[in-house]
Symmetry: C2
């Protein structure tokens, strides 16, 4: 069909129905083609261009915004090109991020969410979504193990914000007067987290006015798990200095190593010293769905709050992150400002369902529907199968490379999560003696291989240094489309690209 | 077609392509039907049910989550029912919120965004979106009037978070050591905002550790605009008490009255006392697109930061909010934590495009594409037309009711924004003498009419008290589908429902 015509033909234009339906179906055609190709291993993961290339404009595709409107025909071209120059995060060979995959039910859920285009702040304008959120949070709390699923929670725009909520609520529990009087009303408060924990804990300490130097980093064992004795020693040390320990974060599934801190031992210390225990399960929380793997989070029911991102290990489209709080009323107490224009007490329905005043946001995106719909379609057992499968694939990778020539594991032993961390050592480095030269050269290997992968567009996997360890690959699996053949492909590709370095 | 089959037939299942396409097209059919009905005035705005009714389960629609999967057939029913029991925020007679309407191009943009399912933190996995964000923010800064569009900015999950950024950046500019040492490193800092400003400023003062009592509320004139002399007096008073004024918020388009604070006069005071000036244009920022109305924000170019939500007055689907900062580098300085696993310095491309470390989030939803696509399709002049039209409709309403029997305006004079605030006084109250009894009875009128509107499902409009004023209606227009006939309908409906109260 012909879209030379301009958007003034679309709804709400008079007689705009037919045009609108045709236009939307053209868009859907572009999108379903993209979906089809995403699952097709013969397509590339990405078609890499440098920023200056895209900024200069590709043929027929300019990012510049103008005063005058474009034709709908051009809008369709823009849609096609936006996808063409992007990255297929649902491709079975995209391993670059903790979030990957393209769940079809989740996708349908997001399309519906956009079409409903509403806001979570009140039951008034999001009745169904507000209830779905409530029921789903309760289910998550039951799975955590809080009695009868009691407690509180909210979906937030990501794990970093969820972790920030946990620090805020801990502060409010111990020093509620800070809400009104500011940090000056409290003594010097200190927070604890492992040196392997996610940087959002540090961000929260800066944002909320604690200061990053009042976040005390805990030592970990060689697998990246907190050493509880180090926590206790540092708590005692802080108290002796006159500081007040107020918050401990235990990570359930660290970002790089996939390590699970020993929650029970940490909980013992928190109880002894009356410190808020938060479990950051943004990445590892999904394992609670698996009878086989949930023991890695033993003790999670003793936490005061838990971050759990269904958009990571459970394959829900971005964004979907929950902060769950054991004690009811704290989120509301901490954040409520009782805005009269939004949270009128004299509505005709039960206004306890207007949950917006618990949030640090005002408007809040509907993140629940896609997750609820996926849960409906898979059932709890479907998430369990997915988790178990991803962990099996990681074990497969681990066993494949642990004794393979040219590979060295960053830490020993089977991975706790799907994270497999390893160095690929090109032939030219294998005979070098250990020492600074080898380290420096090895440090450059992963970035070089990664750059070539991206230029070829065949696969993507993350790398980073950690502590005194030079750049290594971090492989993760969260996409249900991945098979053993994709793991084999990754290893072949690393060797193909790295052999001459 | 028959979807008794279960989701294991969908991609990534072998030969799942055909099923997947059929399923997605069934979903699209549900969605396009919903879109069609949204614009049809013969359909209801909502089909109201109380929370307990929806929780008990409607016929064939249960919100409960189970262990076992549902059939795809049931999933389609769930999608249909979710929309059925929701609220049509795009309906031409939905006036309940500052965000309304259903822009077809924006909708297409959101569908594409969900399909791309990526994350804004790095250029690596969102090359096109990252560049679109950069170009769009620059365009917005040009429109604000900052030379060459220089400066900085980021899209955040809503106006409340954008306002929070502004307070954070102001604090970082004046007391950068707070990032490391916490609020203890600063003297007692005070913030200023009008008593009519959005509650998110108060939230930010609580969250960031200033304390709500250190947020000083400014008096307004009868139209809800800050009185600059009151600001200066309170700044002097605070300084005399030894407090340090660090941040002033000027609202451009207040939530209830739609008032624009006099930015130039406020900027004079901020410059004199070296205080950060933030303009909260979440609601009113859109008027910058209109040559006719942008004078209401005169002086905005003197602000140090500006919040501007395209998801409100510009009709972009939720969520789309920008925080713009005049000085480059502050956002990065304030928030960066340099996480090694995400922001590797040794990538093959120019890593200054990895903007994630500016954010308080880690993962960040792609909010830019729908906005960029709408801008492409409308051009700058399209937004201008939209804004001018909405303001004309408000003027129409204002003139229609200002001298009409049974109406009283909450403040006198033409509205500055599309907000028209008024009491409807039922015949039974008209002859009552002014006094407490009349006030108390009038206070109950708007909630009663609103409840009936919702039960009938014919239209929705907001109400609230403000200061010592009892409940009144706040009418706003931001939906391009609205016509004069819809305004007439609202007034007829208020009179129909309210005449016997």
């Amino acid at each position: 069909m012909n879209f030379q015509h301009h958007l003034s033909n679309l709804l709400p234009a008079k007689n705009g129905e037919e045009y609108t339906m045709q236009f939307l179906l053209e868009v859907v055609d572009i999108l379903t083609n993209y979906v089809r190709k995403t699952f097709d291993r013969s397509t590339k993961v990405l078609d890499f261009h440098h920023p200056h290339q895209l900024l200069e404009g590709m043929e027929g595709f300019s990012l510049e915004l103008c005063d005058q409107p474009e034709s709908l025909e051009q809008i369709l071209v823009d849609c096609r090109d936006t996808l063409k120059y992007g990255v297929r995060t649902g491709h079975p060979r995209f391993f670059n991020q903790l979030s990957s995959g393209l769940d079809i039910i989740g996708l349908a859920g997001e399309w519906l969410t956009s079409t409903a285009n509403t806001n979570m702040f009140t039951y008034e304008i999001a009745p169904v979504f507000v209830l779905m959120e409530q029921l789903t949070l309760k289910k998550m709390r039951e799975i955590i193990g809080w009695p009868n699923g009691e407690g509180d929670g909210i979906f937030s725009p990501g794990g970093a914000i969820s972790n920030m909520y946990s620090v805020m609520v801990a502060r409010y529990k111990h020093y509620p007067e800070v809400k009104i009087k500011g940090m000056a009303a409290a003594p010097r408060l200190v927070l604890f987290t492992s040196e392997h924990s996610h940087y959002s804990i540090k961000k929260a300490s800066a944002v909320l006015g604690f200061g990053t130097e009042n976040l005390i980093l805990l030592k970990t064992d060689e697998r990246g798990r907190v050493i509880p004795a180090d926590l206790e020693a540092k708590v005692i040390d802080a108290k002796q200095k006159g500081f007040v320990p107020v918050f401990v974060n235990a990570t359930a599934g660290s970002t790089v190593y996939g390590a699970f801190d020993p929650i029970n031992e940490i909980a013992d210390i928190c109880e002894k010293y009356n410190i808020w225990l938060h479990v950051d399960g943004a990445w590892g929380g999904g394992l609670l769905m698996s009878r086989k793997h949930r023991h890695k989070l033993n003790g999670v029911e003793r936490a005061n709050s838990v971050t759990w991102n269904p958009h990571k290990m459970m394959g829900v489209p971005l964004q979907c992150s929950a902060i769950l709080v054991r004690e009811k009323g704290l989120l509301q107490g901490c954040n409520s400002m009782c805005a009269g224009y939004l949270f009128q007490p004299d509505k005709q329905y039960d206004v306890t369902y207007d949950t917006g005043d618990k949030a640090i946001q005002c408007g809040r995106h509907v993140d629940i529907f896609k997750f609820w719909l996926m849960w409906k379609s898979k059932g709890t057992i479907g998430f369990e199968k997915h988790i178990d499968r991803c962990l099996e694939l990681s074990e497969y990778l681990y066993h494949k490379i642990k004794n393979r020539e040219g590979y060295e594991m960053v830490f020993q032993g089977e991975p706790q999560h799907t994270n497999v961390c390893f160095w690929y050592i090109p032939p030219s480095l294998r005979l070098l003696p250990d020492g600074e030269e080898k380290r420096q050269r090895l440090h450059k290997v992963a970035p070089k291989i990664k750059a070539m992968m991206m230029e070829c567009g065949t696969t993507m996997v993350g790398y980073q240094p950690q502590g005194d360890k030079v750049n290594f690959f971090r492989m993760v699996v969260s996409n249900p489309a991945v098979t053993r053949s994709d793991i084999d492909f990754l290893i072949d590709e690393i060797e193909r690209l790295g052999q001459d370095l």
